[in-house]
């Protein structure tokens, strides 16, 4: 009885369980993380991405930063995308983009989720 209970207690366990039910474990897991990322990205106190970036579905977006599109093609290396969001001043010392990771605007987990979401754009 103890073992199943501990599986239910972790989100990984829950995803595995869902995955086995729908037979598409990887897709199900990524969709969930990307959805979390979208929520973080659109939270004004967190990512607030649309303040500066347009993307499909963005409501009244700003135009300070480039439009977010074809992101998988633009960032084939996920680590590079994460580094860009973590601290954009590394690539461009004069960028206006806040260093979301370096200044702890987002937690590591939130950053990972946002990366997954950005790659769906």
């Amino acid at each position: 009885m103890r073992k199943p209970a501990s599986i239910f207690a972790t989100s990984t366990g829950a995803v595995l369980l869902l995955g086995s039910a729908f037979l598409t474990p990887v897709v199900a897991a990524e969709a969930t993380l990307a959805e979390t990322g979208k929520a973080v990205a659109e939270d004004r106190t967190k990512g607030n991405c649309f303040a500066c970036h347009d993307y499909p579905g963005a409501v009244l977006p700003g135009n300070v930063g480039p439009k977010l599109m074809n992101m998988k093609a633009r960032f084939p290396d996920k680590a590079k995308l994460r580094a860009q969001i973590y601290d954009a001043t590394k690539n461009n010392p004069n960028t206006i983009m806040p260093p979301f990771g370096k200044h702890r605007i987002l937690t590591d987990k939130e950053l990972d989720a946002v990366v997954e979401w950005v790659l769906t754009l």
Binding site: P61, G62, P93, K102
Partner: protein, 277 residues
């Protein structure tokens, strides 16, 4: 916190070293004007006193309708009344200023060489009160904003002509300039990131106003405030928006910043008080 401080000190260092030795305030102001001329070739120089409404035609139309019955009119009327009411000792505000205080707001911000610091109009108003045995007014809104509104209104039409008379003044100007270009806050932005580099661009649905002309039209009735406020109140709001700790109104930091920012608008016309979103 250590990282934040490091980032700020690096930005400060870059700001200092990026300034060529020969450049002075006049060269800076000229470069500023040339930058905006290139960025907005169709906007006449004189129109920059209208801030965001110079660069956003749709917002300008709404604003012009608001100006038909300006929301700052009440403040001008109240300011005129306050200004003309004698202190308990029988003296008036006018006794502290040249020309009895009418049409002289353009003398501020000024660098007082004897004192070795920037004197803003707010500072002069409150020092006038204290000299005459009255309590100073709160700095950022309320009665002081009304007195400023009246004094600005009687100064409308004069040209901005801020002077940097000596080395101490230059040091204050340079401190203001460094403040302007230094990154700050959790969002790591400088004033210039939004109002120079991205002037005219949209942050969500809000258009970023150009820095040129920023100092011409204070105090301002801001719809999002619902009342009149001073330039330093706006500085505080901007600092808080980038998640930095705001400085005190009329502290050295904001007085130097006002001095630099107003100098950048030299040659434009004073048109306070103003109305903004």
């Amino acid at each position: 916190m250590k990282k934040l401080l490091t980032a700020i000190s690096v930005a400060l260092f870059v700001g200092v070293t990026a300034t060529p030795a020969i450049a002075g305030p006049a060269e800076d102001a000229n470069a500023f004007r040339e930058y905006f001329k290139k960025r907005f070739p169709d906007i006449p120089f004189d129109d920059y006193i209208n801030g965001v409404y110079a660069v956003n035609a749709g917002a300008r139309e709404q604003w012009m309708a608001i100006e038909e019955f300006p929301p700052y009119q009440i403040a001008i009327d109240e300011g005129k009344k306050l200004f003309g009411t004698p202190f308990k000792n029988g003296q008036t505000y006018g006794s502290c200023f040249s020309n009895n205080g009418v049409g002289v707001a353009d003398e501020y911000p000024m660098f007082d060489s004897k004192r070795g610091e920037v004197v803003t109009l707010e500072l002069a108003i409150n020092e006038c009160r204290v000299k005459n045995g009255e309590e100073p007014l709160p700095w950022s809104k309320g009665k002081i904003a009304s007195i400023l509104a009246y004094m600005a209104f009687t100064t409308r039409g004069k040209k901005i002509d801020i002077k940097v008379p000596d080395d101490k003044a230059l040091a204050a100007y340079e401190d203001g300039k460094r403040f302007y270009y230094a990154r700050r806050g959790q969002l790591n932005m400088s004033c210039a990131h939004c109002h120079v580099d991205n002037a005219g661009n949209n942050l969500r649905a809000n258009t970023l106003s150009p820095a040129l002309g920023h100092a011409s039209h204070w105090p301002v009735y801001r719809s999002s405030w619902g009342d009149m406020g001073t330039l330093h109140r706006r500085f505080q709001g901007c600092n808080e928006q980038v998640r930095a700790k705001a400085f005190k109104p009329q502290g050295k930091e904001y007085r130097d910043l006002e001095y630099f920012l107003t100098y950048m608008s030299n040659g434009l016309t004073w048109n306070g008080p103003g109305a903004r979103e």
